[in-house]
């Protein structure tokens, strides 16, 4: 990543114009050509320096239900329980964390009722209690990493 890449990333974290030729506009602000901007963006996405570039949608506002769920999984059962949890398409993410509560998964379903249904099924299949922690309030700040 050179300095120009850094400038581009810092600027583009703040937002992107919704106009006819947005890349030309941003390129002009930085002092490069539109072609160079597109080139660098393309490379940074390819190299995974950037994870993505585009509209950031608020999935919750589009409908559907979400929840964060945790389980205290005995070590001997960990791989099996992970397989059970991962087998649900409604489980979008699943992480191991260093804590007694050592499995954390994110549920994304079409209706709130399905959250409960999936959790009950996981409990039945694993014999473990799951701890459902939906968000009650979000204090959302747009974090920007200055690169």
């Amino acid at each position: 990543m050179d300095d120009l890449d850094r400038n581009i990333v810092n600027l583009l974290q703040t937002g992107f114009p919704i106009i006819e030729e947005p890349y030309a506009e941003v390129a002009m602000q930085i002092g490069i050509t539109e072609m160079e901007l597109l080139d660098r963006l393309s490379r940074m996405l390819e190299e995974k320096t950037l994870t993505r570039f585009g509209p950031m949608y608020d999935a919750q506002r589009l409908g559907g239900a979400f929840s964060l769920v945790a389980i205290q999984v005995p070590e001997a059962d960990y791989a099996n329980v992970a397989d059970v949890v991962n087998s649900y398409a409604e489980v979008a993410h699943n992480y191991r964390r260093d804590h007694a509560f050592n499995m954390w998964y994110v549920l994304a379903t079409e209706t709130p009722e399905q959250i409960g249904q999936v959790n009950r099924e996981i409990e039945q299949r694993t014999g473990l209690k799951v701890f459902n922690m939906p968000k009650l309030e979000e204090y959302f700040i747009g974090l920007q990493l200055q690169v």
Binding site: I18, E20, P22, L45, L50, L62, L145
Partner: protein
């Protein structure tokens, strides 16, 4: 490396009425066409319009509307923080008295190393924490220093806390909106 913060705090919840958040068929097509990213071409919104059978102006207007309603947070680049050396990413959790969380939650969320901050229900007796804040640092030692900063901010309202680092990613599928 410095971390800069935007000024906006959005209190999410049940305050928006349903009809304000309505998306119609054309909006859905726009969402599906852009959820993986914006085309890297000179006139990206025209290209999207072409692909869904609408006009460029209509696409731009709808995107602006969705942005106004908060359906689109913003159109932006998302850096890969692991690539940038942020290896100490942890979920900090706090037990904050219920009557204080409305005031303190946003203040924790406003800290420049916190990316997500939520009020979630406790699960007593095993899980007494009701405030969750994701922190980002270059390594775990630095992340622990960030925990101290939050603790200082909370003062007496810190009735217990912990930090949970992820040790393994078990599953990660992109959330497909509106399949």
């Amino acid at each position: 490396m410095n971390i800069a913060v935007t000024a906006q705090i959005a209190r999410n919840g049940k305050s928006k009425s349903v009809h304000e958040l309505f998306v119609d068929e054309t909006d859905r097509k726009i969402i599906q066409a852009t959820q993986c990213g914006l085309p890297l071409v000179s006139r990206p919104y025209d290209v999207i319009a072409e692909s869904i059978g609408a006009s460029g102006n209509e696409v731009r207007q709808r995107l602006l509307d969705m942005q106004k309603k908060g359906i689109i947070r913003r159109i932006a680049a998302v850096p890969n923080h692991y690539m940038l050396g942020y290896k100490g990413n942890g979920m900090t959790v706090w037990n904050v008295p219920d009557e204080l969380i409305a005031e303190l939650g946003p203040r924790v969320g406003a800290l420049n190393f916190v990316s997500h901050c939520y009020h979630r229900p406790r699960c007593l007796p095993d899980w007494p924490y009701n405030l969750f804040a994701m922190v980002h640092a270059h390594n775990r030692e630095d992340a622990l220093l960030l925990v101290d900063e939050i603790a200082n901010l909370l003062g007496d309202a810190d009735c217990g806390h912990d930090i949970l680092f992820s040790s393994r990613i078990l599953k990660k599928t992109g959330m497909r909106l509106l399949t």
